[in-house]
Symmetry: C2
Subunit: 363 residues, 2 copies
């Protein structure tokens, strides 16, 4: 009993070679017994497998096999945040579901690479035994991302960074989507608007973000969404330099709520545009708490189209997150002998729901 436990505790006892010796056959034969049953007589195969069981041989070591075959049988996933964040953000979860679907179809494992934002040890990436990487939404100039690019395996990026030479990418047109949103609100008469956005750099800055900071943002997605809003509102004559943009480092409802509070404390706006549903849900919560009627007094919009946004009847941009995950996986796994890198832009959709309506002045 204690011995069985011991046996399970990584003490490899028999090897393919020792088993072959015991049986008086070659290693090839033993290997074939596991990997190519048709290459040897059923009787011999039985004998091999029985002896294996008797000797406690657990079958070919997967790592040794991977070394030999040069296939790990797994896809690595690199995330912006700590590993566990993947399960906290509903958008990430959706993306992962799609990616997992693609892996499943391919019989590939999915290895979540343990990156710690603090310890900038890109070692984990270098140590990951994978056949390729999917990179989910990383800032420009990220060490871990660079480490991924060093690895001689295919890479697919989701969302950001864009424009990495020779790397496939799947994403959406963040700019165009936000131009749409701006037009939607401008069409409802909104001119005095405020914006809540996600972090723009890797250093924490919870507060207003200057136009310069917006343009220098290290997160391309945020940069493009803000630029889209700027362009869309410009069409309606809104001077962007007067539009307050509040940034939050953490991506959570409470961050959204506090950002909304900070915004409204200093600016009299008729609409709060958020660059994510989570932030918008927080803004909604603050509006309710503060007794600001939505959408009568103030409009609130999101981005992503998560289930909770639907329940809240949030006006938002729906993006096909699950499809992005699946497409990323397929791009990585089904690549034939394709030489050129590909970029896949998936469609988005403006969902005008109950949290946006005519601006106060127009009611």
């Amino acid at each position: 009993m204690a011995e069985a436990l011991e046996g399970r505790r990584s003490r490899r006892t028999a090897t393919l070679a020792s088993l072959a010796a015991e049986l008086g056959v070659s290693r090839t034969t033993v290997s074939n017994a596991y990997n190519r049953p048709d290459q040897l007589s059923p009787a011999l195969r039985r004998r091999v497998l029985d002896t294996a069981r008797r000797l406690g041989y657990p079958g070919p070591d997967p790592v040794a096999r991977s070394l030999r075959t040069r296939k790990a049988g797994a896809v690595g996933l690199l995330l912006t945040e700590a590993l566990s964040y993947a399960f906290r953000d509903p958008v990430a979860v959706q993306f992962l579901e799609g990616l997992a679907l693609a892996c499943e179809d391919n019989g590939s494992g999915l290895l979540l690479v343990p990156v710690s934002p603090e310890a900038d040890d890109p070692g984990a990436v270098a140590r990951a035994g994978v056949d390729g990487f999917v990179v989910y939404s990383m800032p420009d100039d990220d060490d871990n991302f660079h480490a991924v690019l060093e690895r001689p395996v295919p890479v697919v990026v989701c969302d950001q960074p864009t424009a990495v030479p020779d790397v496939d990418r799947v994403g959406i047109d963040d700019h165009a989507a936000m131009v749409d949103m701006a037009r939607h609100l401008a069409g409802l008469g909104h001119r005095r608007v405020g914006v809540l956005c996600m972090r723009l750099s890797t250093e924490r800055n919870d507060g207003f973000a200057s136009v310069e900071r917006q343009q220098r943002a290290r997160y391309e997605v945020q940069r493009r969404r803000l630029a889209g809003l700027r362009e869309g509102f410009a069409e309606a004559g809104v001077d962007w330099s007067a539009v307050p943009v509040v940034e939050r480092y953490d991506h959570s409802e409470s961050a959204g709520a506090s950002a909304a509070e900070q915004l409204l404390a200093q600016h009299d706006v008729t609409a709060i545009v958020c660059t994510s549903d989570i932030l918008a849900l927080g803004a909604l919560r603050h509006a309710r708490t503060a007794g600001r009627a939505v959408p009568d007094e103030i409009a609130v919009t999101g981005f992503d189209g998560v289930p909770a946004a639907e329940r809240a009847e949030l006006t938002t941009i729906r993006q096909p997150t699950l499809d992005k995950g699946r497409a990323a996986g397929e791009l990585l796994l089904d690549r034939g002998d394709r030489q050129r890198s590909r970029t896949l832009l998936l469609p988005t959709e403006l969902l005008a729901r109950a949290t946006s309506g005519p601006a106060r002045e127009f009611r």
Copy 2:
């Protein structure tokens, strides 16, 4: 450019040995340049790294390193369902978050093993390059689980199967929790009750489950929860053989809704006890659709304590799902030289909320 792509496409060009040859140093030195910077002069290290870059050497191959060091740097996760299910079930997502937290702390990767319920090829388990496995809620006698036990690495089971010799386990007292729930309802006067449960075997059976089927269930958790209910209601004089139990293979709200419908079509009960929140949420939805007032006309209870249950004010049993995940990871990763296997039972809590109230007869 095309060459850079080619380079990324798994054609390993330089190796540690060729780099050493080029430099005229030993392989050890090159290895040290990467793994033990303190073992060689900074100047030499620079030279090694520079030459590596020039030659396109991507650093030590992780698989070869794993073979040599006998460490994969990753934990494998085995799930009941297809891989992607992990991201669809909120309870699984929570568990994974906890597990990821433990992995993170340990610098371990998390490998989701691609098991397909259909193709009973336990090969994926055998091929996973991991230092140990976490097994999440598997039925008794599962092929993939057996394959895990064959591997000479530590294993931690969450929930089920219980009582596997020499394997650590983390779980809750499902039986006791449901005794509590039965007492809660019985205390409110409920005597005519019905139950909605999750699948009891790997073959689909969407319909009523006989007492015998309940007792033969291959899913220990369901078996224990039903047994707990039986015991708890027995204290109030309820004859279990007259209690209708409706089983659903799929775990989804719509499964819960249809099960509730099936139950109510044939039985006049004052309470529907569900073995999961998801099923209960579905039952709630059906009750609303069918115009049955909850809790006035009928009580509905769940199990798990997911966020959606809180929003619905569902009476349920809260279990510390995230903690289970973290504990499973810690049990696997922080095992000292412990010889005995351990079982960790985490506490649960009955949350009496708005979906349970006095039985009709007692109002």
